[in-house]
């Protein structure tokens, strides 16, 4: 009996018992749908994360004020701290020092307004973060020195405020001051999103955070990636010295290595994926048991048919294949339905909003093949025992069966 014949007769058997076949498939449908959706979400999440880290500069170290409650006396980070880190004699391993200061602010243009993250930066930030100018220009050193009232708009902020107009040269109001837009930035994506504005660090200090010389965060980059450890010790010694921290006392600042964060996030994501895989596997096992159960019922119900087929010349292998293929086809149909539902679900979810970023589920060819392979496999595994039972039936007994 050819494979094609077996497939045809399997399809007839499935189709002639629609309700039962559908209910039997349901386990596989749900299992495959869940696994595909979760994996595609995971992949979308991972893609988003990778973008974020690439934009942030994964090779940078971020210094910020300690939030540890055990540290009683905290000196805030200042622009002077940042300048001290640029001293090649005490910090030879550091190549880039980029201090930043952020605050939320509402900006207005005409009737449009947006509440966005405003960050005061120095031009050197482009060596840490992947800002690409879309229109106009970026912030320059002169802007910083002159405390110019200029801003650069993130992609989404530019769209929200000015729509399709070119924002460059326009005047935007924020917190009682007027700022001239000198440039817009390209879309970055990732978890940072594109809803932000940038201005010179000095302008930020005087206009939005109420004077002072404080900064929120200092990003530093090593001369080369193997010098990250020296960078950490140089930063520690320079800042402890400047903040008058006695020997034995704790640092009043923390240094975050983005690579560690990336590694820990990836580990979390891997754990998450494994967990989801396990949940999916359990639902597939349950689905497989359902198929085995219904195939056993089917073998009993069709004992006479098996007897007739054997009497007219079906070999054991023919009967075995017939039931195996039927189980696999049942499961594969379930898998296809599950896959279709997952694709529909992914499409409906489209872009899932997480704060100011989006995660787009990615259904790759790999997932599709694995999902279909696993559903056929589940069918074959759960169909094996019923198919053997069918193949071993005695033709005389089977013909007598009512």
């Amino acid at each position: 009996m050819s494979l094609w014949e077996s497939l045809k007769s399997a399809w007839q058997a499935i189709f002639s018992n629609k309700t039962r076949s559908f209910l039997t498939m349901l386990g596989i449908v749900i299992g495959v749908c869940a696994v595909v959706l979760l994996v595609s979400l995971g992949q979308g999440f991972q893609a988003s994360m990778t973008t974020t880290f690439n934009n942030m500069g994964a090779s940078a170290l971020y210094i910020s004020t300690s939030t540890d409650k055990a540290v009683t006396s905290v000196r805030p980070l200042t622009l002077d701290d940042a300048e001290a880190l640029q001293d090649k004699t005490v910090a030879p391993s550091i190549s880039v020092v980029s201090p930043t200061l952020s605050s939320r602010v509402t900006v207005q243009y005409g009737n449009n307004s947006a509440n966005v993250q405003a960050t005061g930066v120095k031009p050197v930030i482009t060596e840490i973060r992947n800002y690409q100018v879309d229109q106009g220009r970026f912030i320059t050193d002169q802007d910083v020195t002159a405390r110019s009232n200029i801003i650069v708009l993130g992609y989404q902020t530019a769209t929200v405020l000015c729509g399709t107009d070119n924002p460059v040269g326009k005047s935007v109001r924020g917190q009682g001051s007027k700022y001239q837009v000198v440039g817009t930035l390209q879309k970055m994506g990732g978890f940072g999103g594109d809803s932000y504005i940038l201005m010179p660090l000095t302008t930020m200090q005087s206009k939005l955070t109420g004077g002072g010389n404080n900064v929120q965060q200092i990003a530093v980059k090593a001369v080369s990636s193997d010098l990250v450890d020296s960078v950490i010790s140089e930063v520690t010694s320079v800042l402890r010295n400047r903040h008058y921290i006695r020997t034995g006392a704790a640092d009043d600042f923390t240094i975050t290595d983005m690579r560690e964060t990336l590694a820990s996030m990836q580990a979390t994501l891997a754990g998450f994926s494994l967990f989801m895989g396990a949940v999916g596997a359990i639902s597939l096992i349950v689905g497989g048991i359902g198929i085995m159960n219904i195939m056993l019922v089917s073998v009993t119900e069709r004992t006479r048919e098996i007897g007739i087929r054997k009497a007219i010349g079906a070999k054991r292998r023919d009967i075995l294949l017939q039931f195996l293929i039927e189980a696999a086809a049942l499961s594969l149909t379930g898998g296809l339905v599950g896959l279709g539902l997952a694709m529909l679900g992914a499409m409906l979810m489209g872009n899932i909003s997480l704060g100011n970023t989006t995660v787009t589920p990615v259904i790759s060819a790999g997932i599709v093949f694995i999902a279909l392979g696993v559903s056929i496999g589940t069918g074959l595994v759960s169909g094996t025992y019923p198919a053997f039972r069918a193949a071993r039936l005695d033709p005389i007994e089977s013909l007598r069966h009512e």
């Binding site: 006479r304 007739i308 054997k310 009497a311 007219i312 010349g313 070999k315 023919d318 005389i396």
Partner: protein
Amino acid sequence: MIELKNISKIYDIGDVKVAALNNVSFTCEKGEFISIMGHSGSGKSTMMNILGCLDRPTSGSYIIDSVDVAGMTDDELAAMRNRKLGFVFQSYNLLPKLTAIANVELPLIYSGNNHRRQRALAALEAVGIGKRASHKPSEMSGGEQQRVAIARALINDPLVILADEPTGNLDTQMSHNIMSLLVEQSKKGITIIVVTHEEDIAAYTQRTIYLRDGIIIEDKKR
């Protein structure tokens, strides 16, 4: 062409051994039309199962077309049933979900033949039921279903057709039609063996073998 030599079939029922067939021997020639008669328990079903290669004898040899089938494996027996034998049952034994033509095609599927549809249609036409090819068994009368079963039995050009009470579920007129159809086939050179308990039916055949308690008590030519 068919030769049974000292065939015995012994069933173990607990400690008791029951001989369903006890040292039975007979031969039949190509194109012979034979009936096997006997009361229930006489061994005619066992005889039919052995003749049909559905069961193996406990001892003795069974030769079809100069091949001894007594020692064959299950799959070899299946191939034998497929190529050399055709079955007609009292309850027709058609697959209810398949159309008449699909039922007739089934043996060809297992023997891997091409042009199945044409051959099956030709077989249906040969038994006078070509117009009902696309009907399912439930849409046909008993006589029609039995014709489909005969078409199925004929499809692989068998040497022997084994009919187990082929008219048991049919009225007199239908029985007559079916038996005439079988007579026609035997005239074409197919050996036909019918199991029955009705003398009227046996009267269509050329030779009747009477069984009692697993022994041939009479072998009568008409």
